[in-house]
Amino acid sequence: MTMDRRQAVLAVTVLPLLPAAPARATPEAMAAAMQAFSGGAPVRDGRITIEVAELVENGNTVPVALRVDSPMTATDHVQRLALFTERNPQPEVAVFHLSPAAGRAQVATRMRLATSQRVVALARMNDGSVWRRQVDVIVTLAACVES
């Protein structure tokens, strides 16, 4: 696309005035998403480790590793492991489906963080119990999930 100087100047001045996308999760939306995951089971703190930098420079790609203290046997294992955020446009990040075939309950990925916020992991065991871990992450350059 070609653009003369006048159009270019106009584009630059107009763009910042566009309203930001209204979509943004709230702590309430995250609570609702976590409730849907836990299915109403009581949520207890513990058993999960979240490995993520406390200070993140680039929110576009944030390495995060989850581990659950579980023997991963047929009678005692993690069935589902999920990651939620408080202030991304949507609270859900990912749900991992595990079984004893995993050997260990550990998953690593890279996520987006739109801003500094709380990140929560939930694990649902085969006995129906649900465990939680939360960490606060500070982001200096936010992900361009919205522009």
Binding site: A11, L15, L18, A21, A23, N60, T61, V62, A65, T85, N88, P89, Q90, E92, V93, A94, V95, F96, H97, L98, S99, P100, A101, A102, G103, R104, Q106, V107, A108, T109, R110, M111, R112, L113, A143, C144, V145, E146, S147
Partner: protein
């Protein structure tokens, strides 16, 4: 456009030994919350699921949302009693499907 994907497993694993699988897929994971330079919303284009099967049996899966970074990367562990084809399948928006198969050698 050819899909680029990378699946890493050890050359050989011992029976019953826990080993790590790493998968990366070249994909923009467009969130659906961004605008282009003209202010138009960019439609969502993400990978929605990842499914891993060993010799036909599902051993790992993930449901994904726009908060997964571009070029989705996952590392997870498996334990196997027998070798066979390890099939990784990504399914996404706009009819996206890609399957990568590696052979798992169990000694």
């Amino acid at each position: 456009m050819a899909v680029r994907a990378l699946v890493q497993v050890p050359k050989a694993v011992r029976r019953g030994e826990v080993f790590e699988v790493r998968t990366t897929l070249a994909h923009p994971m467009e969130t659906g919350y961004r605008r282009d330079s003209g202010g138009r919303m960019l439609p969502r284009d993400i990978v929605r699921t990842l499914e891993v099967r060993l010799a036909g049996e599902r051993v790992f899966a993930a449901d994904l949302h726009p908060a997964i970074a571009a070029n989705p990367f996952f590392a997870f562990t498996l334990v196997a009693n027998a070798g066979g084809p390890l099939e990784i399948r990504w399914v996404g928006d706009n009819g996206f499907v890609h399957t990568e198969t590696v052979t798992l050698v169990v000694t």
